[in-house]
C-alpha cells in the first residue's frame, strides 16, 4: 500500500457547528424569544435582547452538482452574510441579520431557479432516497419521482394554503430509508422474488438470508445439484427483505414492483402522540420518467385535505376527525381487503366498538 494511503485517520468525528454559525445566532444561542413568518419561505426569529435573524429558505434538487453548489455560495456571499445551512429536507437556508437583505436575496435565488418557500403550512420539499442513481436495491428512482411531483406541487411549496405543514417522503424500496410522512410514496412489491439459483451458492450466506424473512418463507434447498434457497409463495409477503443480503433473490420487477401511497405519518408530538402512516393506495404503476399516476393520487389527497381539514390539523389529525369511511369517500380511493391489517397486533386496528359513521 503506497505511503499516502497509510495515513492514519484523525478521528475528529462530528465537527463543532459553532465555528460556522452566524455571529448573531452565536450571540443569542439559546436566547430566542419567538419567531414570525413575514412571508412564505421567510422566518424572522427575535431574541430576548431584541436581536433579529432572518432566514430565507429555498428548495433545491437534493443532488447538487458543483456548479449549483458554487452558485449557492456565490449568492450567499453577495446577497447574504455568507452563512447558510441545510434543513433535514435538504432545503437551503440563508441567515441574515438585516431584514433589508431578504427581498434582494429572494429575487436572486428565484432568478437562478431556486424555489423560495417550504415554510409553515406549505408543502415543503419531499425527502427522498438514492434510487437508481446509487443504491443497489431500488425498484424505482426516488429523485425522479420527487422532481416530477414537485413540479406539480411547486405552487404549494411557495404558498401557505395547507391546514398545517405537509411533510412528504418517498423511498425506492420497501425498506423505506425515506421514513414516514404525512404522505409517503413507496415501493410495494407484488410478486415473490425470482431466484437466480446459479448465483446463490457463491453470493449468499444462506442461514442469514433465511433469518431475514419476516414470515419464515425461505428454506435452504438443493436446486439442480447446487445449494440454493426456495420460497414458499403462499407465505411470502413480497417485502424484499431477502434481497439486500442475497441479490439473486430478484425481488425487483419492472412490472410487478408497484408504488403505494401512505398517509398520516406524523412524528411531532404536537396534539396527539406520533402516529404511524397508513396504507391508502397501492397497485400504482411504477412509471418513469414522470410517474403521473402516483402524482395524481397525491394531488387528489392534498386537494381534499386542503378543502376539508381545519387549521392546524395535520393529515392524521384530519382523518381522525372525519373518520376513514369519509376519507375513502372524499378521495374516491377504493377500500379493499388489503387495507385491513393481518400483521402482528392486527387486533388493535380492528373496530372493537360500535363507533360507526354513516
Amino acid at each position: 500500500m503506497p505511503a499516502t494511503q497509510r495515513r492514519v485517520p484523525i478521528e475528529s468525528g462530528c465537527p463543532d457547528g459553532m465555528q460556522y454559525m452566524h455571529p448573531v445566532m452565536k450571540r443569542n444561542f439559546g436566547q430566542w424569544k419567538y419567531h414570525e413568518d413575514p412571508k412564505p419561505g421567510v422566518l424572522k426569529h427575535v431574541a430576548h435582547d431584541g436581536d433579529e435573524i432572518w432566514t430565507v429558505r429555498a428548495g433545491t434538487q437534493r443532488i447538487l452538482d458543483l456548479f449549483t453548489l458554487r452558485k449557492l455560495c456565490e449568492i450567499g456571499d453577495r446577497y447574504a452574510d455568507g452563512y447558510l445551512r441545510f434543513t433535514i429536507r435538504s432545503n437551503i437556508e440563508f441567515m441574515v441579520a438585516d431584514g433589508a437583505k431578504v427581498d434582494p436575496l429572494i429575487a436572486e435565488l428565484e432568478g437562478n431557479g431556486f424555489i423560495v418557500g417550504g415554510t409553515r403550512n406549505s408543502v415543503t420539499s419531499i425527502s427522498h432516497t438514492q434510487g437508481w442513481l446509487h443504491c443497489d436495491i431500488p425498484a424505482t428512482d426516488a429523485s425522479g419521482v420527487v422532481k416530477s411531483m414537485m413540479d406539480q406541487l411547486i405552487g404549494e411549496f411557495r404558498a401557505w394554503n395547507m391546514p398545517n405543514r405537509v411533510h412528504i417522503t418517498t423511498s425506492c424500496c420497501q425498506i423505506n430509508c425515506g421514513g414516514q410522512g404525512d404522505i409517503a410514496i413507496n415501493i410495494q412489491h407484488t410478486k415473490p422474488p425470482k431466484i437466480n439459483h446459479d448465483l446463490v451458492a457463491n453470493v449468499c450466506e444462506r442461514p442469514s438470508v433465511v433469518a431475514r424473512c419476516p414470515v419464515a418463507a425461505i428454506r435452504p434447498a438443493m436446486v439442480n445439484g447446487k445449494p440454493s434457497l426456495e420460497v414458499d409463495e403462499r407465505k411470502c409477503v413480497c417485502c424484499g427483505a431477502c434481497y439486500p443480503p442475497c441479490p439473486p433473490m430478484q425481488i425487483n420487477d419492472p412490472e410487478h414492483s408497484k408504488l403505494a401511497v401512505w398517509i398520516g405519518g406524523n412524528h411531532s408530538n404536537a396534539r396527539g402522540r406520533p402516529s404511524f402512516q397508513k396504507l391508502v393506495a397501492a397497485g400504482i404503476p411504477n412509471n418513469p420518467p414522470r410517474w403521473p399516476e402516483a402524482t395524481a393520487i397525491v394531488k387528489r389527497i392534498l386537494s381534499v385535505y386542503k378543502r376539508d381539514a381545519q387549521d392546524w390539523e395535520r393529515i392524521n389529525d384530519w382523518v381522525e376527525r372525519i373518520g376513514w369511511p369519509r376519507f375513502f369517500e372524499l378521495t374516491e380511493l377504493p377500500f379493499t381487503k388489503f387495507h385491513i391489517d393481518n400483521w402482528r397486533g392486527q387486533q388493535k386496528s380492528l373496530n372493537a366498538s360500535s363507533h360507526l359513521r354513516f
Binding site: T190, Q277, F338, L350, S354
Partner: protein, 414 residues
Amino acid sequence: MNKHQTPMLDQLESGEWPSFISGIKRLRDHHEDRRIRDTNNDLLGQLEHSYETIKGYWKGGTVSVYGYGGGIIPRFSEIGELFPKSREFHTLRVQPPAGNYYTTDCLRQLADSWEKWGSGLVTFHGQTGNIMFIGATTENTQHFFNEINDYGFDLGGAGPCVRTAQSCVGSGRCEQSCTNEHDIHRRLVNNFLDEMHRPALPYKFKFKISGCPNDCMNAIERADFAVIGTWRDEMQVDQEAVREYVAVKGRSYLVDNVISRCPTHALSLNEDDTLSVDNRNCVRCMHCLNVMPKALSPGKDRGISILIGGKRTLKIGDRFGTVIVPFMKVENEEDYERLVELAEEVIDFFAENALEHERIGEMIERIGMVNFLEAMNIEMDPNMIVHPRENSYVRTDNWEQEATKWIERRNSAA
C-alpha cells in the same frame, strides 16, 4: 340435626347488605323439609371448612338429563364423608325469559318446584344470564327439569356449545332502544337449541343483545356474537327540550358535559340555545343522548351492528368483539332470516375451523379477519377498522380486482 359450627361464616351476617349466609341458615333452621335443612347444614359445614382452609372442595363430573348433553354443572364434594347431605350439589342452568321479565306467579311456580327437588338456593341470574338453581342431587336434577320443562322452561348451555344469551330490558322500558332485543335474542338462540343442548362445538359460543351502544349487556366484551342496536340517519333533536335543558342547567354545564365530551366534536351549541349535530361525524356513542334523554333520541332509520369475537382472558388475554356488520335492518321476516342465516354461517365456520378450546375470537386472530370475512362472504367496509394497515407486509398483486369490487359496489349503491 347437629349444626356445624360456622364461626367465620357468622361474621358475614353482620353489616347492612343482605347476607347470603343468613339466607342459607334460614333454610337450615326454618325450612319444614328436613332434606333441605340437612343439605344446607352440610353445605354450611363445607363452606366454613373452605373459609378456614382457604380452599375449595368441589369437583366436576358428568350429569345430564335424559336427551340432553349439557345445561348442568355437576358438583361432587371432595369431602363428602364429612358433609354427606350436600355431597351431590349440581347446578341447573335454566334459560330466563328474554329481557328477564317475571311475574310473581311465575317465580312462585319455580320456587315450588325447586323446593321439591333442590337445595332451596337460586340465583337470578348467573353472569351468562341463566337462572341458576344451585344444589340438586343427580337424581333430582331430572325430576326438577321434567317439572319446569312442562311449564315452559328449558335448560341453558354448559360446555362447548351455544350458550344462553342475554338481552337488555330494552324496548320494554328503555327510550334508547333501537331494535327488538327480545325477538332477536329468541330468534338467534332458539335456532341453535341442538347446538346448545348437545355440546359439540370446539368451545363455547355466546350471543348477547344490547338495544343500543350503551351496551348494558357487556356484549362487546363478553359475547362471541354481539348484537348492538343503532341508527343510520340523523338523531332526533327536540330543540324545545334543549332550550329547557339550557335554561335549567346553564350553558356552560351543557358545554362541559355534552358538547366537549362528544368524542368527535360533532355537537355545537348555537347562539339561540339550540343544538346542531354533525350527523356525518356522530359515531353513535350515546353520550349526549344519555345526558339529555328528553331532548335527544336515536334516529328513525334503526337497525343493528354485529361484532364478533369478544371473550375474557384465557390463553390470549381479553378480546373485544369487532365489527363485521356495521348496519343491518331487523324489521321484517326476511331481515330476521338473514340475521339467523349469518349466525348459522358463523357457527358452522367456527365449528369446522376452530381448534379445540379455541373461541371464535382466537380463531379469527389466528386466521386473520380478512380470511374470515371472505369465508362469510361479507364485503369489506372501513367501518370495520380503526385505521388501515401500518405495515407493508401484505401481498397486493390482485389490487386491481379488489379495487374494482369496491368501485362497482359504490356505483351500484349510488
